[in-house]
Symmetry: D2
Subunit: 360 residues, 4 copies
C-alpha cells in the first residue's frame, strides 16, 4: 500500500513531537497540523514548512488526502474528536488516556471495530527499546514468575488543572505493566491513596497498589511535587529481577541474577531458622545493550504498519480501555478511603471476543 | 557521676556492634557479654578481651558492678529480659522494636517510669548526623510546612522467620518520622498493603500509608526481595524539600529550594489555566556538610548521659511505644485489606502525662 | 537592523544541528543548505522544507540574499571555504577548529579583520548555561585564585581518519578553559602524551598538561576508546572548587566550599606536622539552578547579535587562534616525547593589538 | 605449623587496622603493639585488651614469642626498623612503600632473601575481591590485549609533610597495575607532571604517564586537593574493557563488551573513510558478583600462609621494589620537566633470578 496522509490534531504540549516524528516516518505524509489557535499551529511548524495549518477539524476530515489522524488534544475532547474522525473513515492514533471515562473509551473502541479502522493508543513508553526488551524478557520467562512490580515516576511536574496525578502520570506505568506482563497474569483489584498538600483540588501525590493473579503485587508511586526526578521500575521475578532506570541512558536496564527462594526447612535450632527456610542467590548483573531509538518514531511506524497490514497495533484500543478500567477503579478507591476495588475483567473478555471478530 | 557498668545481652547480629561501641564510649564500662550460647559470646569478644562472658542473665543482673544493660535479643524476649533488668534496678537500652506488642511495651514503660529508671530505644538512625540535621531543619521550620514524606528501604534482606518486613524494617522509618516531625504534626491513621510472593508466611514487600494532621501523607516502602539497595527519604515542604540518600556518603542530604505553590488563579483562558493556579520555584540545591560519626557511638553517649543526668533520652520508651502503636495498626490494616486504621493518640497522651510526672 | 540571510555549508554530522537552530533563531533567515552531495542536503531538510539546497558554493556566495554563512565542513576545507565567503563579503561562523593550522587560521582572522566582517567560532560548549555560570564564577573571583583544572572527555567515539583525538576533542576543553579563566591567567606551555593501541595511525588516547601563569596546571584527558562516557571538569580554587558533570542534567555544577590552605606552621612535634602546615575546609556544597537552554541556539543568537551590533562575538577568531596555537604545541610535544612546548603568547598579543585596531 | 606470634610496629594512622585484622586472623597471635608513644598504643588497644604495649623495638624483637612483625611506621624508618627485624630473624610485613628509596628497598629484599625470611608488602588493594577478579580476568586473557590503563585517585586528602602526592598515593595504582598485568607486559618508561598550587613544598596534584611494552599507555591521576573523591580505574582491552569504581559498593566492576577495532579499509570514498577503517562493538555489560571481604584480612592470611608454606607472598619484596623503581623514575621526570625516564628492568631481572634462587 502507498503513503498514508496524516493530520495532527492539537498543537499544544505533545503535538510538536507528533509533527516532527510524522515528518520523519517513511510511508506517512503529513498533510495538516490542526488547532483552534492557528497562530500556535504556525509557530509549531516554523517559517520553513510546506505543511498546511487549519483551525477546522471538519475541513481536515473532509479532505480525502487525509486517511489518518493523530490526536493530541485534552483527554475530555478525545471522544468527540476521535469519533468524528472514525465516522469520517479515518484511522486514529490518540494520546493517552484513550478518553475521559471508560464508557467513552468503549464507544471509541466499538466505533473503530465496527468500521474496521485502526484505533491506536500513543502509549509511547511501550515503544522504547527498554520496554521492548522487558516485554521479551518477562513474557519469555526470563525472570521466572513475576513476584512484584514497583514503579516510581516523580518529578516537579506540571500540576494539571483538570485531572489528578494518577490520571496524568499512571497511564504510563499501567500501559507498561500491561505490555510486559505474561498473558496469564491479570489485574484483579486496585487500591489508591493520595494527598493534595498544596490545595490543588485533587491528588498531587498518589500511591497505587494492584493485586495480580498469582499473589504478586504491583505498586505505582506518582508525584508532581518532587524536586528530583525519578523514573524507575523494578520487576521482581523468581529467577531474576530487572531494574529499569529510564534516566540512566548508559544503563537503563540491569538484570540481576539475585533473589530469594523458599527452600525446605530442615529441623534446625532456633537461631538458624531464618537462614534455612529461604536461600539467597547473588549472581552477576547484566546490563543488556539497547539501541538508542526515539520511541515516538516507533509509534508512528507501528501506526502506519497496523493500517497497511490491517492488523491490531501493539497498543490497541483494548489496551487503552484496560488502562481506563484501572484508573476508574483507582479513583473509586481514592474516594472510598483506599479499599481495594475490583477490575472489570469479564467485561474486557467480552470486548476481546468482539475485537477478535473484527480483526478476523 | 562516675562510670556506669554495662552488660550487653545477646551476641547475635547486632550485639557485636553494641560491644564495640560500648567499649569505646567514655563513662561506660563493659562488664559482660551475656548469651545463652557462651561460645558465640566468646567469638564476638575474640581472643584478646578482658570482658567477661556469661550465659546467665540472673548472674549478670545480680552483679552490683552492672548498672545498665543493652539488650539485643529477639523482640519476643524483650519483655522478660528487659523486665528482669528493670526489676533488678538496671537502666535499659533495648533494640527496636521495644517489644513484641504494644501491651508488652507499655508494661516496660510503666515499669521503668515507676522505678525512675532510663528506658531507651536503640533507634540508631535517629542518632545519625543526617537525622540530627533533618530534625533541626524540619522542626525549625526550615522547609516550611510538611507536605509529604516518602521513605524507601529496600534491599536483598534477611527474610525473618517470625516477623514480617513491616515489623523488621519499618521501625527505622517510623522512628525517624517521629524524630523529625514538628510537635503539631501527629499520626492519625495508617493503611498497609503487603505481599508474600515467595511463600515465606508473611509479607516480604509492603507499603505503608500514613495520614498526618494537616493533610500531609507519609509513605513507607519496605522490601526484602530487591536486588538493589535503596535507602532514601524525601521530606517535602512548602518552602524547601529535602532528599536524604543514606547510601551516598558524599551527599547524604540535598536541600532543594524547589517546589510548587498554589497561587490565586486569574481569569485566563482554557489553555493557560494550569500555569496560573500554581507557581513553580526552581532555585539552588544545598548539600550541607555533615560530620562523619558512627551513630551507635552517639546512642551509647546518649544512654550514658540520660542516666547520669536523670533525664529522658531522645528516643525514650514513649517513642518506642508510638512506633509499636503504628505497627499494630498497620498489621490490623494488612489483615483487613488495606483500610485505614486509627492510631491510639489519646492513649499516648495519657501515657505522656504519666511520663511527665515521672521525669519531673 | 533587519533579518540576516544565512547559508549553512555542509550537511554532514553537525550541519543538521545548524540548520535546525538557524531556523528557530529570530533575525536569521535560512536561505540555503549547501553540500556537494545534494541528496544528503535534501535528506537533512526533509520532505516539508522551503529551504533551498545547492551543491555550488559559488552560487550561494553570489546570492545577495545571503549575508552570512555557517560552515560545518571538514577542518582542512575551512581555509578555502571561509576565505571564499569572506572575500564575498559574508560574515562567517565556523565549526571548531578554526582551521587545519595556526597559519591558516591567522589568514582567516586577518581577512575578516581587514574587511570588518564577523568571524565567529562555534565553540558550542562556551554557550551552555554551565559555562556561562562558570565564567561568571571563576572570572568574578568566586573560587579565589585558580589552583588547577582537570577535564575528562572520554567515550566510545568516532575514530577520525584525518585528525587525532587531541585535535578532535580537546578544542572543546581548551575553548572552555580560555572562556572561563581570568585575564591574568595565561597559558605558558603544554606537554602531550598519547597512544594508538588500535593502530589507527594517530593517538586515540591522549593527555594534555598545561602550565599556567601563577603555578596552576590544567590537564585534559581525551579518549575515543572508553566504553563509558565521562564529561567532567574540575576547577580548583583557593576558596571554592567547582565540579561540572555535563552528563548529570539535574546537577551539572557543584560548588564546594572545600579545600586545603597552607597556614603558618607552628613549632610542633614530628607527628603533628602534617596537620599543622595546612588547614582543611569542608563546608556545604551548592548546586546552582541553571536554565535548560540549547547552547547552539545561543551560538546563533550571538552570531546574529555580533553582526548587527558590529562587535566581536564571545568566541571570536582570536579565541579560535589560541586554541590552534595550543593544539599545534601539543602536537609538537607529542612528536618530541612529551616535553613542554611554549605557547606563542607574544604572537597573540601582536594579533590582539591588530584586532583591537580593527574592532575600534 | 603452629601459631605465629606477631608484633605490630606503629600505632599511627594504619596501625589500628593491622591490630584489628591481626586479632581476627586464625594462625596469628598478636603479642605486642609497639610505638614510641606508649599512651597512643594504649589508646589504640582500648581498655579491654590483653595485648601488650611496648615502646622498645629491641624488647619486642628480643622476645622469642614474636616470629613476625607488621610495620606501619613512616616510610623513611622502614629501612632501620625492618632491617632490625630481619636481623633478629623475624618475618616482615611492611606498609607501602617498601622503603624511602630503591637502594634502601633493595637492601631489605637482599637481607630477607639471604635469611630465607618472608618480606611482604601490604599492598592492600591487591587483596580486594575486585583486584583478585581483575587479575584473573586480565591475565587470563578475558579482555584481549591491554590497550590502555587509566587510574584516578583523588580526594581531599591529608597533605603529607615529607612526601609528595605521587609517593603518597601512586603506590596503590602502581601495585595494582603490576598485580593485574600479564607477565609479557612490562613497564618501559614513565613521565610525570605535577603542581603545588598551595605552596606545600611538593606536588599536590600529579599525573603519571607510563609506557608499556606493546604500545599501551597507563595513566595515573593523583590529587590531594579535590573536594570530591574518585577512585576509578579503567583497563581497556582489545575485546573487553573493565571499569572499576571502588566507591560503588554495589557495582565495583563493570565489564563492557564494547570497543573499537581496526578493520581492513575498503576502497571507499572520502566521507565514509572513518566508518570503514574501524569497527565498533557495543555489546552487553556484565557486573560480576564479588564477595564482600575486608582486604586487610586477606593480607594477614597471605602473610601467615607465605610464612608457614615457605613461599613468596603475592606482594613480595620484588613487587615493592618495582613500585619504588617507577616512583624514583617519576620523581626524576618531575625534576626534569616531564621527559620520559626509563625503568630499570634489567636490574629487576637480575634480582628476580636471585629471588628465585632464594625461594627454591
Amino acid at each position: 500500500m502507498g503513503t498514508i496522509g496524516l493530520a495532527v490534531i492539537g498543537a499544544g504540549y505533545w503535538g510538536p513531537n507528533l509533527v516532527r516524528n510524522a515528518q520523519a516516518t517513511p510511508g506517512l505524509r503529513l498533510e495538516y497540523l490542526c488547532d483552534l489557535d492557528l497562530a500556535r499551529a504556525r509557530r509549531v511548524l516554523g517559517d520553513y514548512s510546506t505543511v498546511r495549518v487549519s483551525d477546522s477539524l471538519d475541513e481536515v476530515l473532509a479532505d480525502p488526502a487525509v486517511q489518518a489522524v493523530a490526536i493530541a488534544t485534552p483527554a475530555k475532547t478525545h471522544l468527540p474528536v476521535a469519533m468524528a474522525a472514525l465516522e469520517a473513515g479515518k484511522h486514529v492514533l490518540v494520546e493517552k488516556p484513550l478518553a475521559a471515562t471508560y464508557a467513552e473509551g468503549r464507544q471509541l473502541v466499538e466505533a473503530a471495530d465496527s468500521r474496521g479502522l485502526t484505533l491506536m493508543l500513543d502509549h509511547t513508553y511501550c515503544y522504547t527499546p527498554a520496554v521492548a526488551h522487558l516485554r521479551e524478557l518477562v513474557r519469555g520467562g526470563g525472570i521466572g514468575s513475576v513476584q512484584y512490580l514497583d514503579s516510581v515516576r516523580i518529578n516537579l511536574g506540571l500540576v494539571q488543572p483538570d485531572v489528578d496525578v494518577l490520571w496524568d502520570l499512571a497511564p504510563h506505568d499501567l500501559s507498561i505493566f500491561l505490555s510486559i506482563l505474561p498473558d496469564d497474569v491479570r489485574v484483579l483489584s486496585v487500591a489508591a491513596h493520595g494527598s493534595d498538600p498544596i490545595g490543588a483540588g485533587h491528588a498531587c501525590v498518589a500511591h497505587l497498589t494492584i493485586q495480580l493473579t498469582g499473589g504478586a503485587m504491583a505498586h505505582v508511586h506518582v508525584n508532581w511535587l518532587s524536586p528530583t526526578k525519578i523514573r524507575t521500575m523494578v520487576i521482581g521475578g523468581s529467577t531474576r529481577t530487572v531494574v529499569w532506570d529510564d534516566l540512566n541512558p548508559t544503563q537503563r536496564l540491569s538484570v540481576y541474577d539475585r533473589g530469594v527462594e523458599r527452600t525446605e526447612a530442615a529441623d534446625l535450632g532456633e537461631d538458624r531458622r531464618a537462614q534455612t527456610i529461604v536461600s539467597y542467590r547473588t549472581g552477576d548483573m547484566v546490563a543488556p545493550a539497547l539501541p538508542e531509538k526515539e520511541a515516538l518514531r516507533a509509534v508512528m511506524t507501528e501506526f502506519h504498519a497496523s493500517i497497511t497490514e490491517r492488523r491490531a497495533p501493539l497498543t490497541d484500543g483494548r489496551s487503552g480501555l484496560q488502562v481506563l478500567s484501572i484508573l476508574e477503579a483507582a479513583s473509586a478507591s481514592l474516594a472510598q478511603g483506599g479499599v481495594f476495588m475490583p477490575i472489570l475483567g469479564a467485561d474486557l473478555d467480552l470486548l476481546d471476543a468482539d475485537s477478535e471478530g473484527v480483526s478476523a
